[in-house]
């Protein structure tokens, strides 16, 4: 259990947090990567998912994209992107070495949960609610903004939450291709046979993952509490969403 003592020492040493390539810098790098990729995936994925759900088309694609995303190893995709001529290992500002490749891979992996949940969320709005909206003379756009979207929001939010945690986890794997982020503390420890350092890095990554999950769960609860009874807000129109 010597390594556990080493890990503890590494966590307590100020030198392992500060300076160039210190854990603080890597932590910020990985948080930056995670949130940028999530934002990109939301901007690209949500309109597609919600639009397809509203139109009731492309269901096969929207549901199966998750299965494909699960089958492709993150490590393999990252490896291919890094070995390509572009993006390769190009450095990208504060995102570090292979920043572009990592951002691209992370965005691709955030898309499946966002698209699948977004699509299913809109499709699961009860048919009679949808018919009632049509019967009241709502246009397609009105039906989407005032009926489908508010009812779909909780499930959309859980897709985003899932994506956030997955992207954080995936960002760690970037270190396997010498990319940015906290995973590097782990891989460095392993390649140099300093297992204590590797374990210390793993603890930090795991703790932040749990914190992100708790934060996201809290945010989701807050967001859904505001409109606890979506049907009521729809009927009274107190909270126009848009």
């Amino acid at each position: 259990m010597r390594v556990l003592q080493d890990a503890w020492d590494f966590l307590l040493a100020a030198g392992s947090w500060t300076g160039e390539g210190g854990m603080l810098e890597l932590l910020v790098q990985q948080l930056l990567l995670t949130f940028t990729a999530l934002l990109l995936a939301l901007v690209v994925g949500l309109p597609v998912a919600l639009g397809l759900g509203h139109l009731g088309r492309g269901g096969f694609l929207a549901v199966n994209i998750s299965n494909v995303g699960r089958a492709v190893p993150t490590f393999a995709l990252l490896a291919v992107l890094v070995t390509l001529g572009w993006p390769g290992t190009d450095s990208f500002g504060p995102y570090g070495r292979a920043g572009v490749a990592t951002l691209l891979a992370l965005t691709l992996f955030a898309l499946p949960p966002i698209i699948t949940n977004g699509y299913v969320a809109v499709r699961e709005v009860p048919a009679d609610v949808r018919e009632a909206a049509d019967g009241m003379g709502m246009t397609g756009a009105q039906r989407f903004w005032r009926v489908e979207l508010p009812l779909a929001l909780p499930l959309v939010a859980s897709g985003v939450r899932l994506a956030l945690v997955q992207v954080w986890a995936t960002a760690t794997i970037a270190a396997l291709v010498a990319g940015p982020g906290l995973g590097r503390v782990i891989t460095d420890g392993f390649y140099r046979s300093q297992y204590g350092q590797g374990i210390a890095g793993a603890v930090v990554v795991a703790v932040v993952a749990l914190l992100l999950e708790l934060l996201a769960a809290g945010a989701q609860r807050l967001a859904t509490r505001e409109r606890r009874d979506p049907l009521a807000t729809v009927s009274t129109g107190l909270h126009p969403v848009g």
Partner: protein, 247 residues
């Protein structure tokens, strides 16, 4: 003599470098697959072994846990909470945490992946058992079924579709996650991917990556096939159900 001629033919012609030489470094290269067949087969079988062992261990642990959680409802939320918490820990962080106990061995990878599979499988077993209608359970009891026979003959078969869906998710993600095991040098095809990245060997990298995806889809198809064979009644049931929905 023929054999030596054939063997020499692959790397010999210096005028025309093979498609995986340093100069060309092509992504698709059948010569590579042919020349390194043994290495690729070894990695593939290690990958399959790790995946199958991990999923089997996951199932072996998930069944008693699910049954326990069902028997003791107070335990259920903590079992589910623990499995969610575990799932948020990245695999690359989980393996190092196991190393002090199991060392740099295949056991580390199998246990780590089994824990991930476990989180999906416990949920699937619980949901599957919950999907069994209460009146079915009651009629079985009325027919004199004991707890054990009820579970094996009535509940398990009826829970099978949901359980199998969970098994598919667990298996496919385990195949993908196995590659990360290359961190402790037991990653099956992941070892080839890592080597491909570090030595900029494109054919090796892409071949291993494609094989990973192929393994995932083949295992997925096998589970679907097994489910069809095990639950012949669902196909008959499905037509009536969709018929009712349409009406």
């Amino acid at each position: 003599m023929r054999v030596t001629v054939l063997a020499a033919a692959a790397p010999a012609p210096a005028a025309e470098p093979s498609c995986y030489s340093r100069l060309t470094n092509e992504w698709f290269c059948l010569d590579y697959v042919r020349d390194r067949r043994e290495e690729i087969l070894d990695a593939t079988s290690q990958h399959l072994l790790i995946t199958v062992l991990a999923v089997a261990l996951g199932v072996a642990l998930a069944v008693p846990l699910a049954l326990l959680a069902r028997r003791l409802p107070r335990l259920e939320s903590s079992v589910l909470g623990l499995s969610t918490g575990l799932y948020t820990v990245p695999s690359i962080a989980l393996f190092p945490l196991l190393v002090p106990f199991t060392g740099l061995t295949m056991t580390t990878v199998v246990i780590g992946l089994a824990l991930y599979a476990l989180t999906v499988l416990v949920r699937a077993f619980l949901e599957g058992l919950r999907s069994v209608p209460d009146d079915v359970r009651e009629s079985a009891r009325g027919l004199g079924y004991g707890a054990g026979r009820l579970l094996l003959r009535v509940e398990m078969p009826l829970a099978l579709p949901v359980v199998m869906a969970g098994l598919r998710v667990a298996t496919v993600s385990t195949v993908a996650l196995t590659t990360v095991g290359s961190l402790v040098s037991y990653g099956g095809l992941g070892n080839l991917i890592r080597d491909g990245v570090t030595t900029n060997f494109r054919a090796e990298l892409l071949t291993a990556a494609v094989l990973c995806v192929v393994i995932a889809f083949v295992l997925d198809a096998l589970i679907v096939l097994a489910e069809r064979l095990l639950t012949p009644w669902t196909r008959a049931g499905r037509t009536t159900r969709t018929g009712r929905a349409a009406a």
